[in-house]
């Protein structure tokens, strides 16, 4: 690639930047200035909308924040954090997110990988299937959450009709969205259904990159399809697996709209997840300081979990891209 020599960006630090041809410093300074002009509008907007609120979020979390501008906010140090750590409802919401993760992450990994393997071969209508599997991914969370709310309706929902009247696996209609475990299950099923196409597309791209000669060599050595998959394809896409898993876990912790619209966190807060709880603290109870602290606690948990996934499964690779 002709362009590689010019990519002195920090993203590829292992590619030593070739020493730039000696230029007079005035020309260099002019080049810097041009770069800043191109950079400034976007970076300024980014700082205003993303970076500044992040710093401000930490500040707000240290206050008993007064929403009314005429009232003074009271500095209370880490009290909001202590309150969060002792808040049983917050821990329940974390546990619910844990349940959601336990269902949706393996669900999307396994089904996504299975669909990718299915499509990783010459077959008619391959492109059509890829399009169809991906449609839920591009559809708004609001719409699919409402569709699933309708499907999981207790008395007249399609899911209960299938279970009770068609398959006869349940004796009576299940009150899916009116109790904790069925509610979490319905939300998790939606999560798997919506996300599986995304995992499939990424796995399919990775599998396409697995060298055919390796698979053929394994086949010549007498390896069956399953052995070839486990010993050739899976190791070859290991980095992609890790990347997808980390992103699915982060996405799982961020589950929000589906819970908000399907169960509303109820009944009695039993299906609350961290973000619905944080959102309620902020915009129902106007407790901005506490909500900011809760979102920081969640961010810390997400970072720790992501970091330990890289440490546990990343092996010798330092980064995934």
């Amino acid at each position: 690639m002709a362009a590689t020599a010019t990519t002195t960006g920090p993203a590829s630090p292992e590619v030593a930047a070739p020493a730039p041809a000696p230029r007079d410093s005035r020309k260099r300074r002019r080049e810097s200035l041009t770069a800043y002009v191109f950079l400034l509008p976007g970076f300024a907007l980014f700082c205003l909308i993303v970076a500044y609120p992040l710093a401000r979020s930490f500040q707000i979390s240290l206050y008993d924040w007064a929403v009314v501008p005429t009232q003074a906010s009271r500095f209370i140090g880490l009290e909001n954090y202590a309150r969060g750590l002792a808040d049983e409802q917050f821990w329940l919401s974390m546990a619910n997110a844990g349940v959601y993760l336990l269902v949706t992450v393996p669900g999307q990994l396994v089904i996504g990988l299975a669909l990718a393997v299915l499509l990783d071969a010459k077959m008619p209508a391959r492109g059509l299937f890829r399009v169809l599997f991906y449609v839920p991914v591009i559809t708004s969370w609001v719409v699919v959450a409402l569709v699933f709310k309708y499907l999981f309706n207790t008395d007249a929902g399609v899911v209960n009709w299938l279970l009770v009247d068609v398959l006869h696996v349940a004796d009576a209609n299940i009150a899916w969205l009116q109790s904790r475990w069925p509610g979490l299950m319905a939300v998790s099923i939606l999560g798997v259904w919506k996300g599986v196409g995304w995992a499939m597309v990424i796995f399919l791209a990775a599998l396409t990159g697995v060298r055919d000669d390796l698979k053929e060599a394994a086949a010549l050595d007498g390896a069956g399809a399953w052995d070839r998959f486990v010993h050739v394809s899976l190791p070859a896409i290991r980095k992609t697996l890790l990347f997808v898993t980390v992103l699915l876990v982060i996405g799982g912790f961020n589950v929000f709209i589906s819970v908000l619209l399907m169960t509303g966190g109820g009944p009695a807060g039993s299906t609350e997840v961290p973000l619905t709880y944080m959102y309620r603290q902020a915009f129902d109870f106007l407790d901005f300081g506490y909500a900011a602290a809760l979102s920081f606690l969640l961010a810390i948990v997400i970072m720790l979990v992501s970091y330990s996934q890289f440490r546990l499964f990343g092996g010798d690779e330092k980064e995934v891209d």
């Binding site: 920090p10 976007g42 970076f43 979020s57 007249a156 259904w193 929000f256």
Partner: protein
């Protein structure tokens, strides 16, 4: 090729059968949504469910479009999504150009700051962002939505475009420079035209992100006149809990344009989704 081989044939049939079954599960909820949107209210919760309505009606669509102002919400969403796409494409391609082709002091720091911003889900900062929007008088404003959506998406699109800009041969850049073209001219006449596929990908993702966004709009938009489609759909369901036909007609109005665009531009979609995820 062993196309005639019966074992191979059976293998392909099995694959198609399995894929077809999976596709059915992925699509069925949408079919039910569409079918319900054409049902009169009395049939919406009838058991057993009918996939093809016995008395189909377009009343729900008419009522949603005019009676419940979805024409207005559609226009609001379109305005916000288009303006966000324009702002993000302009700003992020400028930044991508600076990163791809210039050396400057602080390049590494700016890069790391942008990268850190990418990792943090936007909702983490929703409280201070709300305070900021209030102070800037951007609550209840469609342009306010554009400003916040753009700020939230500009970092990601910069990374997407930077990778593409770096692949444009430096020789072209140098040839233009020798011809006396300055950096601005090179940006508009070399980098932007050659990056059309990447710009298309970025445009689709930005548009879709703004079109589908719900939580921020729910938080800052109070005035019913300023609602975007996702907020309006959720509000409709909240107020008229059992009018599923109406809710799904409104949903179809929001979803069908997206699916149509997706089907025509799926190559750009896939390119954007897998960019950076798979090491080649």
């Amino acid at each position: 090729m062993s196309v005639g081989n019966p074992r191979h044939q059976r293998h392909v049939s099995l694959r198609i059968l399995l894929a077809g079954l999976a596709a059915l599960i992925m699509i069925l909820p949408f079919v039910i949504m569409l079918s319900t949107s054409f049902k009169p209210q009395t049939f919406v919760l009838e058991m057993p469910p009918e996939l093809i309505p016995s008395e189909p009606t377009t009343r729900n669509y008419r009522e949603a479009w005019s009676g419940n102002s979805f024409a207005k919400y559609f226009a609001n969403s379109l305005y916000v999504a288009l303006s966000t796409t324009f702002v993000v494409l302009l700003l992020s391609s400028m930044m991508a150009y600076a990163f791809a082709r210039f050396d400057f002091l602080g390049k590494r720091i700016v890069f790391v700051v942008l990268l850190a911003g990418l990792m943090i889900p936007g909702i983490i900062t929703i409280v201070p962002a709300f305070v900021l929007a209030k102070n800037l008088n951007l609550l209840d404003s469609l342009n306010g939505l554009t400003v916040f959506y753009s700020g939230g998406m500009v970092a990601f699109m910069t990374f997407l475009l930077r990778g593409f800009f770096e692949k444009i041969p430096l020789a072209l850049d140098e040839a233009m420079t020798i011809d006396g073209a300055g950096p601005v001219r090179r940006f508009f006449h070399l980098y932007l035209p050659l990056s059309r596929p990447a710009l298309a990908t970025a445009a689709i993702f930005t548009f879709l992100g703004a079109w589908d966004e719900f939580v921020w709009a729910l938080t800052v938009i109070n005035d019913p006149e300023k609602r975007t489609l996702p907020v309006a759909i959720a509000a409709l369901q909240g107020q008229r809990a059992t009018e599923w036909g109406l809710v799904f007609a409104a949903s179809a109005i929001a979803v069908i344009p997206v699916i149509v665009v997706y089907v025509f531009a799926q190559r750009q979609f896939i390119a954007g989704v897998t960019a950076g995820a798979v090491k080649d």
